[in-house]
Symmetry: C2
Subunit: 219 residues, 2 copies
């Protein structure tokens, strides 16, 4: 059933007189998506234009990737090397880890190439549960997992998820919803605001860190 749908919908398979195979068609769609998304961004790119560029039927794009948001996530590569980033943040002066991580996050989000890609991933995740699952897998496998393995804190998985929460909040508040004055503040001021919140999440602490504090009784 599925096989015949691919054969029917992939003109390249028909034209060439042989079976192109699903993986070749899928790669063609992915390459076309990468070009279109890079050129126009997620909002202005249509599934129709991707299908046209890949020379396949639009239904086939849906068959392989489900939706535009899911295709966007599948077509997006992380614009940095997570391993090198983790090493940069955790190496050097221990007291400046929060500042280095804040600087890294803000510089990437402000970068004209990397920023739109990262912000686009967050927006895609928010738009659709399937894209959210894909972003969780992508970030989990490539960033959060390796980071948690290196963090010298009591509960590294929790620390990483709290760091993720800080970065996601910044993306939404400053770049997407554009809450003032956060949205128009200089980048270095944002770094100063984030650094002290990130620092305790990156540092070994005999008490277990602020984020392992027992529940306040006085509420």
């Amino acid at each position: 059933m599925r096989k015949s749908a691919i054969e029917e919908l992939a003109p390249e398979a028909r034209r060439s007189g042989r079976r192109a195979g699903p993986s070749r068609t899928r790669s063609a769609v992915l390459a076309a998506a990468q070009r279109r998304f890079a050129e126009l961004g997620n909002d202005r790119t249509t599934l129709r234009s991707i299908a046209a560029e890949a020379q396949v039927d639009q239904k086939l794009v849906g068959y392989f990737f489900g939706s535009k948001q899911a295709l966007f996530v599948a077509a997006t590569e992380l614009p940095f090397d997570p391993g090198a980033a983790i090493q940069h943040v955790l190496g050097g002066d221990g007291d400046a880890r929060g500042a280095r991580l804040a600087c890294l996050i803000v510089e990437m989000l402000e970068n004209p190439m990397a920023g739109p890609r990262l912000i686009g991933l967050v927006r895609a995740a928010a738009a659709e549960p399937e894209a959210a699952r894909m972003v969780r897998d992508l970030f989990g496998r490539q960033i959060w997992g390796p980071a948690a393995a290196k963090l010298p804190v009591k509960d590294p998985d929790l620390a990483v998820s709290l760091i993720a929460s800080q970065a996601l909040g910044l993306v939404l508040a400053r770049y997407v919803i554009q809450v003032e004055p956060l949205a128009s503040m200089p980048a270095d001021k944002i770094v100063d605001l984030m650094a002290p919140t990130l620092q305790p999440l990156l540092t070994a602490d005999k008490t277990g860190g602020r984020y392992a504090r027992t529940r306040a009784t006085n509420r």
Copy 2:
């Protein structure tokens, strides 16, 4: 031009033999949207079903509200009284303001009625720039503005935008992208994690608060 489009597309105006007026048609669409979104949520509600329930042409829904995300924001009322919430957080013991605000945010997000509505607003804002603008206006007018007017800190607008960033990060990390262990942690543990980050944003501080600290030189 626009007027004739409304007249042409609104069957109720034609049927009744008199002009229903754009505001009456708009209200009918809004009421239908509120019922459909409340019943099925944003993801599973279609513009077509809203148009059918309001007994208007689907094009007219687009004419009045632009897109489904924008209609979702327009149809959503805040599920709490911001004035009472601000009073609750700022009244009482000053040292427990962070805990009270964290408790309020988490309780609302966990509430089966209020949570999906608030999370839906954040998701709509992330999905589409027009919906983002509407959410910024809604939150700004109803929550952030009144809160900033009452906050006893040096830069209340900045403090409010940082609080917003914390809440938005929680929404995305725990409820939308579902980063573990944050996603499956008990609600009271989340409150304990958030409270110390929120506390300095809610308290007068002669030094201007942690978030007004000058830039660290040691990076």
